[in-house]
């Protein structure tokens, strides 16, 4: 363990630079990003599109190795994907279409050898009930709505009882009403089980609603701009919400406003 690791530190991201290759380019997605996620945190990575927040989440997931710095979960360096970091994706096709809702959740449990037989089924049923889909346990994913599919993915992630749940803009493809509902449900679930979640979003209101701690990343390549505390969940004070949202908005877009009049910025967007 690193000496500066506090007692509650679960995930330690230290000076992480990430690069990936496209067909023509070598892209630096994040530059020396560091943050610490504590037990039971709802930690939000917030930034404009292209700030490398999803890439960062994939690196925590173990799909991508940092070129500089390291990522430790409970003191151990992350090298490959694993069931202790379950990921919920934005895409609706993350459920296996050839398995029912229940089988999707059970599959995750048995594939990794975490549980088997009855135990896996009971655990699956328990988490499907938590997301309110017991009635649809035997339905195939293609018969479900987008919101229900995301609920199944969340149930699958939570059923594994991972050290940390990684959520990559899970509500971004949903309509506004469903998104609000899903955010409330996620907070409700967190109230029940106090899991740790690392949540990526580009929506400031969502970050303020979901997170207790928010990391702001600057655009392309992503660097830490600020790490803020959010409001307590269920805080109905719309004024405080608005104030925090405005503050974040100013921080994220401040330099663009200032830079705009400078003619020789030489910056490509």
């Amino acid at each position: 363990m690193r000496p500066d690791d506090g007692p509650g530190v679960l995930l330690d991201v230290h000076g992480v630079t990430l690069q990936y290759k496209t067909r023509e380019l070598l892209v630096t997605a994040t530059y020396r990003v560091g943050f610490q996620v504590h037990q039971a945190d709802r930690f939000v990575l917030l930034g404009p599109s292209g700030c490398g927040k999803s890439t960062l989440l994939k690196a925590v997931g173990g799909y991508l190795a940092p070129v500089e710095g390291e990522i430790r979960l409970r003191g151990k360096v992350i090298r490959r994907p694993g069931p202790d970091r379950m990921m919920v994706f934005q895409e609706f096709d993350q459920l296996l279409p050839w398995k029912t809702v229940k089988q999707n959740v059970t599959f995750a449990l048995t594939a990794g050898g975490l549980l088997s037989g009855r135990a896996a089924e009971e655990r699956a049923a328990q988490y499907i009930e938590k997301v309110g889909l017991t009635k649809f346990a035997d339905a195939y994913p293609h018969t479900l709505s987008g919101g229900m599919k995301q609920r199944v993915a969340i149930a699958r992630g939570m059923a594994m009882e991972p050290a940390i749940l990684l959520m990559d803009e899970p509500f971004a493809a949903l309509d506004a009403l469903t998104r609000r509902k899903m955010q409330d449900e996620l907070l409700q679930l967190w109230d029940d089980t106090r899991f740790t979640v690392l949540f990526v979003t580009h929506s400031i209101p969502e970050a303020v609603t979901i997170g207790n701690r928010i990391l702001l990343l600057s655009p392309h390549p992503g660097q830490v701009k600020a790490e803020l505390n959010s409001l307590p969940p269920g805080d109905g004070d719309p004024v405080a919400h608005k104030a925090l949202e405005d503050r974040i908005h100013r921080m994220l877009f401040a330099d663009q406003v200032e830079e705009a009049p400078v003619p020789s910025g030489g910056r490509e967007s």
Binding site: G61, Y63, R80, P81, G82, P83, R85, M86, M87, F89, E91, D93, Q94, L96, P97, W98, F107, A108, A111, G112, G113, Y140, P141, H142, T143
Partner: protein, 291 residues
């Protein structure tokens, strides 16, 4: 384009929906005729009956039974072929050879695709080989097969493997490549690697393509087999459907030739509509991967 300085004011309006009971029809079951016409099988049966009638009429009008037997004569020959046991025996022989060749082709395709999935050079090998051999008709290899393996089943197997291998391998491989990145990541996330990853994620996710490959492979194998039997016919006193057709042509038993062709078509239809259709209904349709 000029813009009006001001939008013309329009009055607001409200409507009062009338009670649903006052409508003539809100929901009403379709009539029997409408439902019957919705049934694809029925529509196709009607077409078949019309075609059979047209055939019968044309054959009677031409009236040269040696060249164009009537539909009823064909049916009669077919019935006689079945009751005498000749046609079922020949069919069974053909189907047995077919299944042997088909399974051998699939086994080879599996090995080739496994190589292609695991290494890049394997991918190149599969792509090169299949682009070379896929356009090559299996029958074109028959002379070579006869030289190498002589008359008999080994030659048949050789051409059939050739006709099954490439479409199956090609479709399976392109199916694997089309598996979404998200699904791959989900599989890795659950801790699946290597062969378990292929079996539990890649194969089911690529199943629509694999099934298409199997269907094409089956159709190719069936055609190739009948054609090959026609070319070199009998081996060791036995023969399949192709040989049956050839033999009857030589004896100018034209209704029996038609009966043999009829049998080839029937088996093709049966496998397509019973076997593959059921597999489709139980898998890709049920999973919503194909509509």
């Amino acid at each position: 384009m000029t813009q009006p300085a001001q939008l013309a004011p329009r009055p607001e309006r409200t409507g009062t929906p009338i009670a649903p009971e006052t409508f003539g029809v809100v929901e009403q079951p379709l009539t029997l005729r409408e439902r019957a016409w919705d049934n694809g099988a029925l529509r196709k049966t009607v077409l078949l009956v019309l075609l059979a009638l047209a055939w019968e009429g044309y054959a009677r009008w031409v009236n040269i039974p040696l060249l164009v037997p009537t539909f009823s004569a064909t049916l009669q020959a077919f019935w006689e072929g079945i009751t005498s046991g000749v046609l079922p025996g020949r069919t069974a022989y053909s189907v047995r050879v077919l299944i042997m060749g088909y399974s051998a082709g699939i086994a080879l395709a599996t090995i080739l695709t496994a190589c292609a999935v695991s290494t890049r050079i394997g991918t190149d090998l599969l792509e090169t080989l299949s682009s070379m051999f896929n356009p090559l008709p299996a029958i074109a290899l028959l002379p070579l097969a006869l030289l190498w393996f002589g008359l008999g089943n080994p030659s048949l197997m050789f051409v059939m493997v050739h006709s099954v291998l490439w479409p199956v391998a090609l479709n399976t491989h392109s199916g694997f490549r089309a598996v979404s990145n998200t699904l791959r990541m989900v599989g890795q996330n659950c801790g699946l690697t290597g062969a378990r990853f292929i079996v539990k994620i890649l194969i089911p996710a690529a199943f629509p393509s694999i099934l298409t490959g199997l269907k094409i492979g089956w159709a190719f194998a069936w055609r190739t087999l009948i054609a090959a039997e026609l070319v070199f016919g009998v081996s060791s006193g036995q023969g399949g459907l192709g040989w049956f057709i050839y033999e009857n042509k030589n004896q100018l038993e034209v209704p029996s030739v038609f009966a043999g062709l009829f049998c080839v078509i029937l088996i093709g239809l049966a496998v397509e509509n019973l076997v593959f259709r059921n597999i489709e209904l139980r898998t890709v349709r049920r999973w919503g991967m194909q509509t």
